[in-house]
Amino acid sequence: MSQALTRYQSLFDSVRSRARRPEALRGLDKLAATAAMRLRNRRVTPAWLRRQAELIDALGPAMRGHSEAALADRLATRVDRGRADEATVRGALAAVREAARRETGQEAFVVQLMGALALYHGRIVEMLTGEGKTLTGSLAAPLIAWRHRHLHVFTVNDYLAARDASSRAGIYRRCGLSVGSIQQEQDPGTRAGIYARPIVYGTPKQIVADWLRDQLRLGPIRSAWAGRPLLAGDGAPAALVPGLRAALVDEADAVLIDEGVVPLIIARSRKADEQGQMYKDAAALAARLVQRQDFTIDAVRRTATLTARGRERLGPMFDDLADPIWRARRRAEELVRQALSAAYCYANGRQYQVVDGRVQIVDEYTGRILPDRNWEHGLHQAIEAKEGVEVTADRETMARLSFQRFFKSYPFLAGMTGTAADATAEMERTYQRRVLVIPTNRPIARRALPTRIFRSAEARWAAAADAVEAMHKAGRPVLAGTRSIEASEILSRRLWAKGLTHKVLNANFDKDEAEIISRAGLGAGTGHGPAITVATNMAGRGTDIELDDAARAAGGLHVILTEMHGAKRIDRQFIGRAGRQGDPGSCQLLLSLEDELVRLNAPRGAAVLRAMARAEELRGRLLHAARALMRLAQRRSERRDRASRAQVLKQDEWVDKHIPGM
């Protein structure tokens, strides 16, 4: 009986969360909502937080004096649902802080208390890399879980989810909360058990996928009453994810903004879809066309457009093919255009990587391989045909949901990140959450060396290799960031040519990678002097790079960024790896006028500067102009990404509003 009630309760929660239709407001409504949000949040200012944190800090000695039993007693009088007064919250946070100290030996600083408190109040918190986000999050998590019953903590990858869930479990146990982490390989039964716990760690991908699978299973039901036949079923839980209550997002800018509009898709392979030959034919046709005469390429949008001449030439080519699909002119041309964009806009090592005879998508923000993801509507097949690997069956979308819409379904949302301040406006607009910058515990001691800009990519790689060598000789560990897997391989070859032993990080994420990155700060003990690490920008996010004494003495970690990214935040994130926690460190940008950023966003400016440059390295006034151009290109790229995110959201909403069904 009680089990049936619990199941009904979980179904009810689940259906209720689904019934929330997050809708973006427009015009005056938007202004009003933003104003209301600011008004609601006016109390939680940095000054207020600091006062509160200091009051909590003052409770520290008393807490330390408590016996284990007394502390457990303190933790039992917890912040429950409903509003809690400030003193209760302070007491609870002080107790959790003490529990964390006894469990891990780390005592939270005042700034970390500030962060935890801000999280509890539903803010997006910016804390610089190495300021102890993990500890801050684990202080806030029990408070949020007490108050909202279920808390989902989102991490960047499965490894971090498992690591944090187990390393923090002790703290949560003392607070009377159980914790679990969702992992790729778990079966639904195990997952259901974990989802039932108050604190669940997991990646957005896993949790959104489970949520979507629930959605497919539940179908278009809009009330728990309508869904009650599901309960009479085979005893498997009706919904895996029991409602969305509270979310704590680590690396909030990456998850909420950059990946915010990347939809998660549940797809199945089409049956009886033997169209491999069709894509191969299209690739062969595409190869016979000449760029600029038969077609033009839009590198920014990644589309190909046929010219009148191209269409004329294609006519007889279509007639030579047997398959009736080529008789339908529009569809046939569409296939050829797709083959053209596959050939000219998608490159192995940048947008995708061929691994074991399969085309795998590479996340362009993170440089990571996204396993089990496919492009839709034949693009994936077109690329497979181009690469000459086996053409897989097209997959049919069953359900899709963008992270943005998923996270908007949470009544409570808080987040932590190293670099949210650049995206403040967008956070406020999209999620109605304010961004709060928490000061660093110690002042930053990182030195930024002047940016160098080169005429060609070739010269830049040479300079980058030289710079790595110079720093290495000076006894400092070096971390070189690249934008794509392809680029990291280029740099790696150059370093091997110089006889520098280094590690390359660009493949999939796992434990090894976290280990490599955690050793990137070693100045000695690697067997070949200070560590050299080449990594795509997101590699090792969430893992601290700690310096050893040798490295610290030599001047700390030196970060070289070999290309600017599409958004300034990502550059800042990478640079932030040097000089954490008041450590010494330095960073430098080595850019070229052939980088993708300027090539796509400021092609004319780049061409003019390339023509004007006398030497390979730009100097003087030209260097200033080039820097300005780079910034302009980055701003343009940010603006376009922002616009495209808004566009996706708008489309989503249109469909939601006008199309019946799910």
Binding site: A19, P220, R222, A226, P263, V300, T305, L306, R311, R327, A328, R329, R330, R331, E334, R337, E376, H377, G378, E396, T397, M398, A399, R400, R640, A643, Q647, Q651, W654, V655, K657, H658, I659, P660, G661, M662
Partner: protein, 721 residues
């Protein structure tokens, strides 16, 4: 080339749905320019949706059992390239669903339905607010009335009926044609405020009859008439009915018949009124009502109903005649398309017209209706400002916001935020700025001729009054105003029975005196004879006086000239004492025009020298002959008295007169007088007392300055009450 991508990322949301059209949705076939279309009509909600044959085939294949995905594949197999793409299907489903034409297998989403109906209501309110000039108030469902009345008209709603109607119109015109002059004379009485009440009554009655016409014909062909109410047409209430059910009629002639039904009924009523008007004697009040009926029918037909540039009957008729459905929205689309394509040079633009001929129609119509909209706005705004100042200002501002400011705002938003422009925004903004600058230069800097209009009355510099020389009854009048007279020519002749009796009595007395005088001379009585001689002289004198008086009973012109002023004919039968004015006689060689202007109107005149000011005059009686004026002289003193009653409201002029002045020459506000003389004999043909339209040509000024000036003048004219 226009790209239509086959796949949509949102397909999964619809692919498993198994919808079908709601059972009561009716689909009719229509042909436009040789192409087949299908119109889905939901009689319950009166929603329409037009489908092309391919889309119709797709919708028709949705039977509630087939999923969208299956239906799409069927369509692909059948039509290959012409089949709708996934995106097009999603859009189609969205629109059908939004119009409540589609029913789904899923249980209805009540929340979504409520949201949607709430949104629809909000949108309706917003539309009402924007179109405050055409505010609609829904009152009742007239279907029963129309159904009851329809059988009476049914025998006439066919070709025979149309022929009969044509004959009626011809008969009406024939009745009026011979009395055209009288008709146009009555027209000048319309500005008289006393007539306005009658006009309003005639208008409302006529429009109710008009709407009945739409309703009855719509009913005749099987359409429902679910709504009737009152529409505020620029502050004038006019009834309306919703005959949109006719949009689903298969034959366009039936649709045209419904559209024209109102005018057919209205003009028929006007023809009957014309015949009654012609039959009734002058002065009968029923005759006035008939006149107003004719007038309103004519004016409203020309200005509103038949005018295809506004969304009234004529628009729908034209749209069906041209076989271009949704003419107005599509021509606006067309203008936008042209702009995007040729001014902003955006790629991948699909024109809203498929055929070349339609393309041109849309462009021409778009330009005309835009121009008309601006024109109408200015006219209505000035009209309202003139009559109801405060309300007028509010309405004018409101309409300006709705018609110009909101679209400009939408345009600015498009320019700033549209995804379409993303790559070309910089250039688009520059182009727009250049266009705006060109417009500013054109409107604000390029001088354009400026005209001011006024009304004046012809008067003579040499005018003498003609008065009666003796009392008597007027028995005959020989001249009318405008007739030339020579010196000494008789204008009216009076008769005085008293005078004749006196003459007879005096003659008798004289005869008696003479008889007695002869007797006295015979008796040689010199004393008596001397007395009688005195008496004789006296009576002779009396007779001479009376003869003289009798002479004066014929009133003669004092000099050569033209009869002007009062009409002597109207005196026939009247008894006049001595010294009463009969008419005036003026010298036609020395005429001038006197015009009256308000202070604000006159103010611009004083600032100009005589060389700068040119006037063209046109007599009301002969508007095709322009007369060049010279020597403009403004009298710099305000007065509250008109020089002629013809300039005031009562005399058909446009100067507001005090209502309590029987003569109609005392004005409500102070007026200035301007005299205009012509060179040589230019005015010779004009008749003194006749009204003249004046057009003052001012130095050329930029348009903006002119408009501001005019608004300023209108406001000033109101404020100094």
């Amino acid at each position: 080339m226009i790209e239509r991508p086959t796949f949509s990322p949102f397909w999964h949301r619809v692919r498993t749905l198994r919808p079908r059209l709601r059972p009561h949705v009716q689909i009719t076939r229509q042909h436009f320019r040789g192409r087949r279309w299908h119109v889905a009509h939901d009689p319950a909600s009166n929603h329409f949706y037009r489908l092309n044959p391919v889309a119709h085939d797709f919708v028709a294949s949705l039977d509630g059992r087939r999923s969208i995905d299956e239906a799409w594949k069927l369509s692909l197999a059948k039509f290959a390239d012409r089949a709708p793409t996934q995106n097009e299907i999603i859009e189609l489903l969205g629109q059908l669903h939004g119009s409540n034409l589609l029913s789904l297998d899923a249980p209805p989403d009540v929340e979504q339905m409520l949201t949607r109906s709430g949104e629809r209501r909000k949108k309706k309110i917003k539309q009402q607010l924007i179109g405050l000039m055409y505010f609609r108030l829904r009152l009742f469902n007239p279907d029963r009335i129309v159904t009851a009345l329809e059988p009476f008209f049914r025998p006439l709603i066919n070709r025979v009926g149309l022929a009969l109607w044509a004959m009626l119109i011809v008969a009406g015109l024939a009745a009026v044609a011979p009395r055209w002059g009288e008709l146009s004379a009555s027209l000048s009485g319309v500005t008289n405020p006393e007539a306005w009440g009658w006009i309003a009554v005639a208008f409302v009655l006529l429009k109710a009859w008009h709407e009945l016409g739409h309703g009855v014909i719509c009913k005749r062909y099987g359409g429902a008439v679910p709504e009737a109410g009152v529409m505020m047409l620029v502050l004038l209430p006019a009834p309306y009915v919703d005959a949109s059910a006719c949009w689903a009629f298969d034959s366009r002639w039936k649709r045209i018949a419904v559209g024209a039904g109102g005018m057919i009924f209205e003009l028929g009523a006007a023809a009957v009124a014309a015949m009654v008007w012609a039959a009734l004697p002058q002065g009968d009040p029923a005759r006035d009502v008939c006149f107003y009926l004719m007038l309103m029918a004519g004016v409203s037909t020309v200005l509103f109903n038949a005018n295809p540039l506004m969304r009234f009957d004529g628009y729908y008729i034209l749209s069906d005649l041209l076989e271009v459905p949704n003419l107005m929205p599509r021509s606006m689309e067309m203008m936008k398309h042209l702009f995007k394509r040729y001014v902003y040079r955006l790629p991948n633009q699909r024109p809203p017209a498929g055929l070349r001929a339609e393309w041109w129609l849309l462009v021409v119509y778009g330009v005309l209706s835009l121009a008309y909209r601006v024109f109408l706005f200015l006219v209505i705004a000035l009209y309202l400002l003139g009559f109801f100042f405060v309300v007028g200002v509010i309405l004018a501002l409101w309409t300006a916001v709705a018609w110009f400011v909101l679209p400009m705002g939408a345009f600015a938003h498009w320019l700033a935020a549209s995804g379409e422009l993303s790559e070309r925004r910089g250039r688009a903004i520059l182009t727009s700025a250049a266009l705006a600058a060109a417009a500013v230069v054109l409107v604000g800097l390029v001088p354009i001729p400026d005209y001011r209009r006024g009304t004046g009355v012809v008067e003579s510099l040499a005018e003498s009054g003609v008065f009666t020389g003796a009392e008597g009854f007027v028995v005959e009048a020989f001249k009318r105003p405008g007739d030339p007279v020579r010196a000494g020519e008789v204008i009216v002749r009076l008769e005085s029975p008293e005078l004749e009796a006196n003459q007879r009595a005096a003659s008798a007395q004289l005869a008696g005196v003479l008889a007695r005088l002869g007797e006295a001379r015979l008796q040689d009585d010199p004393a008596t004879a001397a007395g009688l001689e005195r008496e004789e002289r006296y009576w002779r004198q009396v007779l001479a006086d009376l003869g003289d008086k009798r002479q004066r009973l014929a009133v003669r012109s004092p000099h050569d000239g033209v009869v002007a002023g009062l009409d002597p004919m109207r005196l026939v039968g009247a008894y006049l004492t001595r010294g009463k004015p009969v008419c005036g006689v003026v010298d036609p060689a020395r005429l001038r025009v006197a015009a009256t202007m308000s202070q604000a109107e006159a103010s611009w005149l004083y600032g100009l020298s005589a060389e700068e000011l040119r006037v063209t005059m046109r007599a009301v009686s002969d508007p095709w002959r322009p007369i060049e004026g010279a020597h403009v002289r403004a009298v710099p003193a305000a007065q509250k008295r008109l020089s002629h009653a013809a300039l005031g409201f009562g005399g058909g002029g446009n100067v507001e007169t005090a209502p309590n002045d029987p003569e109609g020459v005392v004005t409500r506000r102070e007026q200035f007088t301007v005299y205009v003389e012509a060179d040589g004999p230019a005015l010779a043909g004009a008749t003194p007392g006749e009204r003249v339209r004046l057009r003052f040509s001012l130095p050329a000024k930029p348009l903006l300055e002119q408009v501001v000036d005019r608004i300023h003048r209108t406001i000033q004219g109101r404020v100094d009450l």
